[in-house]
Symmetry: C2
Subunit: 336 residues, 2 copies
C-alpha cells in the first residue's frame, strides 16, 4: 500500500509509492527513455483490453464498454500513485505523521487517434475532454475519503509523459495538497484585507493594463501572470467569480474549450510543440462553495523550456528568462 508522509519541518506531504519500490538499477537507464516510446500503445482504439476496465467512456450508441467505438475513455492508471481500495487511516510513527495512500489515479484518453498533435487540435476534442474532467470530478467528489481532485496533463517526455498518445490524468488525494493550501491561504488573507477576490482583482488589473492578456472571450481570459515562474507560463481564468470547476455549464465548457484549445495551439506554434504541463486548480472537495468568496478556479499552463535546478529547489524562487509581457506579445500575435 502506498503511503502519504508529512515532513515535520514544513508540513509538506509526499507520496511514497511503496508498491513499486525502485532499486538503484531501475534508474540507470534513464537516458534511453528520452527517445520516446515507439510501437505498441495501450491507449489506441482496438487495444482496450490492455488497460484496466474503463470507468467512463463517450462512445457510439450500441457499442460495449472496453471495445472500439469510443471517442474518449477514462481508465484507472495501471501503475497508480495511490490505491482506490482500502479505508483511510491516519497514524503517527514516532514524531512523524502518515496517511494510507488511498486515492484515485485515472487516465483520460482524449482521443482514439495516437498521432494527433496540437496544431490540428479540434475544439470538439477539448470540449469532450472538459466534460470528462467534470463528470469524473462530480463522481469522485462523492467519496468521503477524498479531500482534493487534481486534474493535470503531461505532454512530451521531458514533461513527464510516459506515453505519447494524447491523455490527461486525475489524482484524488486524501489530503489538500500544499500548493492548493498555499493558494487558498494567500487568497483568504487578501480577501480579509481587501474584501475582494485576489483573482478577480488580477483579471481587472490585467484587462486595464492589457500588457499580459493573451486571449479572451466572453467567459474566459488567458494571461501571462505577472510573477510567471516559467517562460511562457499562462493562466486561464473564468471572468465571473467561481470557486469550483465542476459547476461549469455547457456554455462555459464551449467557451473554455475555445480558450484552452486556442492557447495550446498558440503555444505549439510559437514554441515548436514544446513539452508542457497544465494543472486545474479548483477548491477542495469538502469546502462549501458559498464560503469561497476568496477562491477562484483556474488552469495553469507551463511549457517546460528551462531547467529547474539547485537554486529553484533550494529557494522556491524561479528564474524566468522571458518577461511575461514579452511572452504575452509573442503568443497574442501568433495566428493573427
Amino acid at each position: 500500500m502506498p503511503e502519504l508522509r508529512k515532513d515535520p519541518v514544513n508540513n509538506r506531504w509526499v507520496i511514497i509509492a511503496t508498491e513499486r519500490a525502485k532499486r538503484p538499477s531501475d534508474f540507470k537507464s534513464k537516458g534511453e527513455k528520452e527517445k520516446g516510446e515507439k510501437g505498441f500503445c495501450p491507449f489506441c482504439e482496438g487495444n482496450e483490453s490492455k488497460t484496466p476496465p474503463e470507468i467512463l467512456s463517450y462512445r457510439k450508441q450500441g457499442t460495449l464498454p472496453d471495445t472500439p467505438g469510443w471517442w474518449l475513455r477514462v481508465v484507472p492508471n495501471k501503475y497508480p500513485a495511490l490505491q482506490i481500495e482500502g479505508a483511510l487511516e491516519k497514524k503517527g510513527m514516532g514524531m512523524f505523521d502518515t496517511v494510507t495512500g488511498t486515492g484515485a489515479h485515472e487516465v483520460i484518453i482524449e482521443t482514439p487517434e495516437h498521432e494527433l498533435d496540437f496544431d490540428s487540435l479540434e475544439i470538439g476534442r477539448v470540449e469532450e475532454t472538459l466534460w470528462a474532467y467534470r463528470d469524473r470530478s462530480i463522481d469522485l467528489n462523492r467519496d468521503p475519503r477524498f479531500e482534493y481532485i487534481l486534474i493535470f496533463k503531461n505532454h512530451g517526455v521531458s514533461a513527464g509523459a510516459s506515453l505519447e498518445h494524447p491523455h490527461s490524468q486525475l489524482i484524488a488525494t486524501p489530503i489538500v495538497p500544499s500548493s492548493v493550501r498555499e493558494e487558498m491561504d494567500g487568497a483568504l488573507q487578501y480577501f480579509k484585507y481587501k474584501d475582494r477576490c485576489v483573482f478577480c482583482d488580477i483579471i481587472r488589473e490585467e484587462k486595464d493594463s492589457n500588457e499580459r492578456v493573451i486571449m479572451e472571450n466572453e467567459d474566459f481570459i488567458a494571461i501571462a501572470p505577472f510573477a510567471s515562474r516559467f517562460a511562457f507560463e499562462c493562466w486561464i481564468l473564468p471572468k465571473i467569480h467561481d470557486s469550483t470547476f465542476p459547476d461549469i455549464t455547457r456554455h462555459e465548457v464551449m467557451a473554455l474549450a475555445e480558450v484552452l484549445g486556442g492557447m495550446l495551439k498558440k503555444m505549439s506554434k510559437t514554441l515548436g510543440n514544446p513539452p508542457f504541463n497544465y494543472m486545474l486548480h479548483t477548491a477542495p472537495c469538502k469546502m462549501d462553495a458559498n464560503q469561497l468568496k476568496h477562491y477562484h478556479w483556474h488552469i495553469e499552463l507551463i511549457p517546460r523550456l528551462t531547467d529547474v535546478a539547485g537554486f529553484e529547489w533550494g529557494s522556491g524562487v524561479f528564474i524566468n528568462p522571458t518577461p511575461p509581457e514579452e511572452a504575452a506579445k509573442y503568443l497574442r500575435e501568433e495566428g493573427k
Copy 2:
C-alpha cells in the same frame, strides 16, 4: 535590470531576468544541449581571462589573481540572475509588488581539473570548497541589501549544469526565499508547541530507529528524510544545534567534508554518477543567531532520477518511488 516579482496569490517570489530576455527561437534547440558541452572550458586552469575577475582564490603563494596557480577560484557568474550594482528599491505596480533584481551571483570553481568525477573525489577538495562557501557567506552577509545567501550545486546537464567543470554557485537575494521561509515558519511553530528544535528531534528519532541513517561521524549525520520528495534524497545535519552555517569551525569543516564527500561518492557508486543538486539551508542574513533556537542549518542533496510533472507542479506533493528506508539501506551498504 532584473526584477523580483511577488505573486499576489501565494506571495511566491520569482526573478524576471529582463536583461537576457529569451525569444521563442532561443528555446527550440533545447534538445541539442543534452549532449553536454565539449571543447573550450572557461573554468580550466590557463583560461582565467575568460571569466570575470576573481573575487576570491586559494592559490600558491606568489601567484597573481586571474593567473594559474590556484586550486579554487570564486568568480562572478558571467550571466547573473541578479546584479550586484545598484540600490535596492521596492515598488508597487498597480496591485503587484516588485523589488529591483539586486543581488550577487557567484561561481565557486572547485578545482582546476576539468575531468574530476566523484568516484575519485578527494576529501581535501570538499574541505576547500566548504571554506569558500564560508568565506563568501561571511563577506556577503555584511552587505545590508541582502536577506539571504543560497549556496547550491548543479551536477549534470539534466540537473541544470551548463558547464561540466566541477563548480558550485551562490546567489544572494534581497528577499528571504519562500522555501526557507516555510521551513523557518514550520520550525518555529514546532518550537512553540514542543519547546524543542524540530531538526534536533529528527536527529534523535533517526538515531533511535536507525532505519534511515546513511552515515555519521562525531559532528554530522546523513539521513534519508522520512518524507523524502525524491528517490535517494539525503539530508546532512550538524548533530549539535546550530542555525547558521558560516559559524562553522575548522574541526567541523573537516567533519562535514568527510560526510558530504562520502555521500557524493556513495551516491555516484550506487546510482551511476547521477545528475544531482545540493542546497545549503542556513538562517537568513539578518536574524540574530541567538534568537534561532528553532532553526538548524543543513544540506539537502537530491539526485535527479525521476521526472517532475503536472501532478507535482500542481499539488506541491511529490511522488517518490523509493521508500527512504530502502534508499538508506542501499547507500549505507555501498563501499562497506
